[in-house]
Amino acid sequence: IVGGHPGNSPWTVSLRNRQGQHFCSGSLVKEQWVLTARQCFPSCHAPLTGYEVWLGTMFQNPQPEEPGLQQIPVAKIVCGPSDSQLVLLKLERPVTLNLRVALICLPPERYVVPPATMCEITGWGEARGLSHRVLNVASLNVISNQECNIKHRGRVRENEMCTRALMVPVGACEGDYGGPLACFTHDCWVLEGIIIPNRVCARPGWPAIFLRVSVFVDWIHKVIQL
């Protein structure tokens, strides 16, 4: 995250490859399910032996004995609808919810976040100058697709959403993909967007684009239920 500050986000998870390296982020939507970006995974059918999610820490390289750290192997991957750029990861066992690990709410189906809603992005990715050794958080405000499409010349689809461009470099970057755009609604944090690979990151004067989660909430519930 560029232009953010160290912060807390108990539903943000770090995805780890077989060498234990962080390569993407995800969001804890159920005790045993993490939502993240399709682009982070080689395939919907490749074995995931050795891949893990790490939760309950703010450090990119936590010490193994760090209190609260939970390291849970990924058991299964389920790819979302073709246009979703999403995957759901089923964990080998449920996480333990506590002060450091919490679920994030899912929005109602097809819910459209009102413009100006206050949101935040989090991640351990590229921080440009700030330390990416800790979880960084940046605040952003939602704008309508209509306003966003002015700058992006109509390329923003309805299953995507945008946040206001700032004149200073603030935004998600390499290593943050799959992480949450969480918005504060009715005194709860709701997972409204997913950080997806963009051609630019933290570019001043340029609205950021996220995957709109509410379009795929029915798929998420169906996978978890089935």
């Binding site: 080689p42 709410c105 697709n145 309805e158 390499e174 709860c188 709701v190």
Partner: protein, 464 residues
């Protein structure tokens, strides 16, 4: 600091059964681990293998191996089978004096004479447990440089070499040797390799059960991390890891190379050969032959098969996707996720309107081409929607349908046990644009979720 297990080859979850002998030696109570068992078995000439029971921490010594007559291997939930390498390896180390395999023909195909026979060739050897002269198997009791040999049953040829290959020659490497599955277990300086399933003398991240596709067997040379050639951790505490000296298989073109792609990437993108040369977020990539701003070991000439040309995104080490070193000093590497993934989906054969609730066609495979499960079947997935529970949806045979009004279109339960349901090889009809969702937002109801403390700095000091 070699482990006694270095002399053994393991078969995980396997039991060796002897068809004629009900039970072999008794189970010995061992407090320690498989290494303790290996110490016991290694010291006994009549022990060729042992079972190690992971739950009772005990072992059973065996006087036979899977190559002995009347034996067979069987899956086991609690046992691992360790067999002495000398008895099961099909190649020889050094001059083969320790070879205990079952080859019994000479290089010209002559059948070997049994060692305890004096006819047609009389000789001075007397079979013992120590010299391992067994039946008519090739052996090297006199340390002959030509390797294992035998007396032959052809009166005109007294003895002849058996031509058993050295382990080094038995398998060669293509490109960087990621596919090498040979049995060389020493490094180029002659140090013995450490077993991959041990963390001593060197602690390491390459646990065999995390890298199943790399076959990190026993202490054989392997290349699990995209190094320039196979290597291993060594039993020398002063040298952590070292390359192995293995023969190349001639031309650099690997016979079963992954299909190359140029405009998209498949799987991990190891076959990508396009010209994308920036990171996802547009940072220019560093040229592979350059060592600035980032020094690295991926030299183009050492990775001839990986096509490390200019500053193109590539995946020479099996990472999750094509990547590159970046020209930004503060950012060493980054993925090139802007390269689209090649679709894994099969072509669509039909279309549906709306969300497909009224679709009544006969397409019966998923978007990945997996055949659908019949709606009336109970396996491999127990259906929630059946022809009786959802008569309105006309769930016929295994045709794609949408009994729950899924907004993403018709779907079916699949015949793949690992995928309970998936969307079908169907597309939305062109003349039916989806209803826009950008209406005024509805009311929001939430259950128990979405709460957090927001005092980061106090939080930080608490953790550290």
């Amino acid at each position: 600091q070699r482990s006694p297990l270095n002399d053994f080859q393991v078969l995980r979850g396997t039991e060796l059964q002897h068809l004629l002998h009900e039970v072999a030696g008794s189970w010995q109570k061992v407090v320690g681990d498989a290494e303790e068992c290996a110490k016991h078995c290694g010291a006994r000439l009549d022990c060729r293998a042992f079972h190690y029971n992971m739950s009772s921490l005990s072992c059973q010594l065996l006087p036979w191996t899977q190559h002995s007559p009347h034996t067979r291997l069987r899956r086991s939930a609690s046992c691992d089978l360790f067999q002495k390498k000398d008895y099961v390896r099909t190649c020889i180390m050094d001059n083969g004096v320790r070879y205990r395999g079952i080859v019994a023909k000479t290089v010209d195909g002559l059948l070997c004479q049994s060692w305890n026979h004096k006819f047609p060739n009389d000789h001075k050897y007397k079979p013992t447990l120590r010299n391992g002269l067994e039946e008519n198997f090739c052996r090297n009791p006199d340390g002959d440089l030509g390797g294992p040999w035998c007396y032959t049953t052809d009166p005109t040829v007294r003895f002849q070499s058996c031509g058993i290959k050295s382990c080094r020659e038995a398998a060669c490497i293509w490109c960087n040797g990621e596919d090498y599955r040979g049995s060389v277990d020493h490094t180029e300086s002659g140090r013995e390799c450490q077993r991959w399933d041990l963390q001593h003398p060197h602690v390491h991240p390459f646990e065999p059960d995390k890298f199943l596709d790399k076959d990190l067997d026993d202490n054989y040379c392997r290349n699990p991390d995209g190094s320039e050639r196979p290597w291993c951790y060594t039993t020398d505490p002063k040298l952590e890891r070292e390359f192995c000296n293995l023969p190349r298989c001639g031309s650099e073109v690997q016979p079963h190379q992954e299909a190359t792609t140029f405009h998209c990437f498949r799987g991990k993108g190891e076959g990508y050969r396009g010209t994308a040369n920036t990171t996802t977020a547009g940072v220019p990539c560093q040229r592979w032959e350059a060592q600035s701003p980032h020094q690295h070991r991926f030299l183009p000439e050492k990775y001839a098969c990986k096509d490390l040309r200019e500053n193109f995104c590539r995946n020479p080490d099996g990472s999750e996707a094509p990547w590159c070193f970046t020209t930004r000093p503060g950012m060493r590497v980054a993925f090139c996720y802007q390269i689209p993934r090649c679709t894994e989906e099969v072509g669509t054969e039909d279309c549906y309107n709306g969300s497909g609730e009224q679709y009544r066609g006969s397409v019966n495979k998923t978007r990945k081409g997996v055949p659908c499960q019949h709606w009336s079947a109970e396996t491999p997935h127990k259906p929630q929607f059946t022809p009786t529970s959802a008569p309105y949806a006309q769930l016929k045979e295994n045709f794609c349908r949408n009994p729950d009004g899924d907004s993403h279109g018709p779907w079916c339960y699949t015949t793949d046990p690992g995928t309970s349901f998936d969307y079908c090889a169907l597309r939305r009809c062109n003349d039916d644009p989806p209803v826009s969702i950008l209406d005024p937002p509805d009311q929001v109801e939430f259950e128990k979720c979405g709460k957090k403390l927001d005092r980061p700095h106090q939080w930080l000091s608490k953790l550290r």
